[in-house]
């Protein structure tokens, strides 16, 4: 039985893991970099040890140091959170060698899923759909045409030696096949001296839909349904929700089976996520597997009613899953937004600094996964995420309304945050209707720049309040000076002086 867990991470996920440990009566060990001395995860743990300077390479990625702390404190297990060492096969192996339980999959699963080509091949063998495409470069025109017809339009033809968009052609109509392949080949030849091309299915309205899986060490594996993560900016997820607004019960079942097959193909153990790229018609293809807990795992917890970290720990403990696929169901709707210290009106420039004041939204259906507090200085070395705000509602429209309510009363002072941008997402028609793809943010750039109106009166009163604040401070300063000059009379008489030295 695991009695003490070292959390090899920081920020909200360290707190998240510790919460479950506390509930399970498991002792926690925090590790922290010098820059994280004042971080909440330090005081939240039973024990805490500094493992090096601010840069991750010298602290949170420092395997030797982390193993050393685990051994010193007698931790039975290490939870890697997400990021940092969570998908590091060497670290998983090293834990094994040191007889410490790594709360995550075995090195083999991490390695196999970590390499795109091996993963793709493994999935094909397991019968999991992958994005159709050629496996070898093609030089012959007829071969290319044949392959394209097999895959079906639209396709992307890419120079096999290529990069930077050169020798790349999107083919959407049958009559363009030959001319496009020719153009791609000749462009490829002149640019790279090699006219070989790849052909890949092109998904024009892609959705990012992922399935949560849980597998124990006794051959049992279930999925916990999907998460829709298509609201992305620069391939970073911004909003996640479950259920997916485009999912059908039939496809859900089928995708779930494929997700389980994918996990079983690498003999997976623990919590993992199978990411699929999906088109408007719910054709779906394996993209990659994340062999760890995801940032967005809370929405699954809210809708399925399980604690994923608890399941991870139980699996690591060698326990069997206590439920079967048919015991699991989805209830209501959950949405997560990631709140960053960044300036949405200035190209999302990171905006680290001191949190002067923070007031979390509270009340029904709201969950805050966070690690900041009043006065906390966000370190510049790590991810600028302040908080994950999660809401649950009886249905999608209730959840959206609740998210808007929560964002409206979420006050963070001192740094700029993505809150007004996230609020605006909840207002955009295609989001409200649930008809959006991974192009959502770029397709709605203008609408997303709009801000709920601070009308004339609101702005004028705000201005006056700043003036009043200034005048109040000025008065306070004046009267404190008068007071001190009064106190200096005491000083002269020697009476108060005695108590002050």
């Amino acid at each position: 039985m695991i009695k003490k867990i070292l959390i090899a991470n920081r920020g909200e996920i360290a707190i998240r893991v510790m919460n479950t440990c506390r509930e399970m009566g498991i002792q926690t060990v925090a590790v922290y970099s010098e820059a994280d001395y004042s971080s909440l995860h330090v005081s939240y743990a039973d024990e805490a040890y500094c493992i090096g300077p601010a840069p991750s390479a010298e602290s949170y990625l420092n395997i030797e140091k982390i193993i050393e702390v685990a051994k010193k404190t007698g931790a039975d297990a290490i939870h890697p959170g997400y990021g940092f060492l969570s998908e590091n096969a060497k670290f998983s192996q090293r834990c094994k060698d040191e007889n410490i339980i790594f709360i995550g999959p075995a090195p083999y699963a991490i390695d196999t899923m970590g390499d795109k080509i091996t993963a793709r091949k493994t999935m094909m063998d397991a019968g999991v759909p992958v994005v159709p495409g050629t496996k070898e470069p093609i030089t012959d025109l007829d071969d290319a045409v044949k392959v394209i017809k097999e895959i079906g339009l639209p396709v992307m033809v890419k120079a096999s030696a290529g990069g930077g968009g050169k020798g790349m052609r999107l083919v959407e109509k049958e009559e363009d096949i030959i001319s496009s392949v020719k153009a791609a080949k000749s462009e490829a030849l002149s640019a790279f001296g090699n006219d070989a091309v790849y052909v890949e299915k092109y998904i024009s309205s892609p959705h990012h839909i992922e399935f949560q899986v849980l597998a124990d060490n006794h051959g049992n594996c279930v999925h916990l349904f999907e998460r829709e993560c298509s609201v992305q900016r620069r391939h970073q997820k911004v909003v996640e929700e479950t259920p997916s607004p485009i999912m059908t019960e039939e496809v859900r079942k089928e995708m779930g089976k494929h997700a389980v097959a994918a996990a079983q193909a690498v003999n997976y153990s623990g919590a993992g996520t199978i990411e699929f790229i999906t088109d408007d018609n719910l054709n779906y293809y394996f993209l990659e597997m994340n062999t760890r807990l995801q940032v967005e795992h809370p929405i699954t917890e809210e809708v399925v009613g399980l604690d994923l970290v608890k399941e991870q720990i139980k699996i690591a403990n060698g326990e069997k899953l206590s439920f079967k696929q048919e015991d699991l169901g989805q209830r209501g709707h959950a949405i997560e937004v990631r709140i960053y210290a960044e300036d949405p009106d200035n190209n999302f420039m990171p905006n680290p600094g001191k949190i002067e004041h923070i007031q979390f939204p509270l009340g029904p259906g709201i969950r805050n996964d966070t690690y900041v507090y009043n006065g906390f200085e966000i370190p510049i070395y790590y991810d600028p995420m302040i908080s994950k705000l999660v809401v649950w509602g009886a249905n999608r429209s209730d959840a959206i309304q609740r998210m808007k309510r929560a964002l409206k009363v979420f006050k963070i002072n001192g740094v700029k945050t993505s809150i007004p941008f996230l609020y605006q997402i909840m207002e955009v028609e295609s989001f409200v209707k649930g008809r959006y793809t991974t192009h959502f943010i770029q397709n709605n750039e203008q609408e997303l720049k709009m801000r709920a109106d601070c009308n004339m009166e609101c702005a004028e009163i705000g201005t006056i309040v700043a003036f009043l604040d200034y005048m109040n401070k000025r008065e306070a300063k004046l009267s404190s000076i008068n007071e001190e000059s009064a106190s200096s009379k005491w000083k002269e008489s020697g009476r108060k002086f005695r108590f002050l030295i």
Partner: protein, 170 residues
């Protein structure tokens, strides 16, 4: 003492006409406001005007300059008293940042690509700064001559701290 207030660049005279506890009467421009103003926590204000509620969060990033957060917007407010009017006039129009490079946020210098005395062309990268897992390149927009390099690679910097100074364009 006479005050003016500037909001997002527009300036108007402002004056407290009357004050009775939290009930305050203010003249701004030509309009008069009767407000009930309560500072709930430092910088967190609740205002009632004719029964309507308004919530603000203030951040005084300089003694006379405020960011006023209204949820939907952040207003830039500056208090102008005779002293600041005087010093503004003295500084004149020559108060731009073109003579140095700085970054809007704290971070760490990754690379300094210039030396003192070096001539650089418009578009050249001068420094690379990393903050929150993102590297940003800072470039010059006109041809310049480097006068002074104030930071070293690896150095931690504050927001708006001058990093490289150029010779004046005049």
């Amino acid at each position: 003492m006479s005050y003016e207030i500037s909001i997002n660049g527009e300036t108007q005279p402002i004056q407290i006409l009357n004050r009775d506890g939290n009930k305050i009467k203010v003249q701004m421009g030509k309009a008069t406001y009767e407000l009930d103003v309560f500072e709930r926590e430092p910088g967190i204000y609740v205002v009632l005007r004719n029964g309507k509620t308004y919530n603000y969060e203030l951040q005084a990033y300089e003694p006379k300059k405020y960011k006023v957060n209204t949820f939907s917007e952040i207003l830039d407010v500056e208090i102008i008293d005779p002293e600041s009017r005087y010093s503004k006039n003295r500084k004149g129009s020559h108060d731009d940042d073109a003579d140095h490079i700085s970054t809007p946020m704290p971070g760490q210098v990754v690379k300094v690509l210039v030396k003192e005395g070096q001539e650089v062309k418009a578009g050249d990268t001068i420094v690379v700064v990393s903050a929150m897992k993102m590297e940003s390149e800072y470039k010059v927009t006109t041809d310049r001559v480097v006068q002074k390099v104030l930071v070293k690679e690896g150095e931690k910097i504050d927001s708006n701290q001058p990093l490289v100074i150029f010779e004046s364009l005049e």
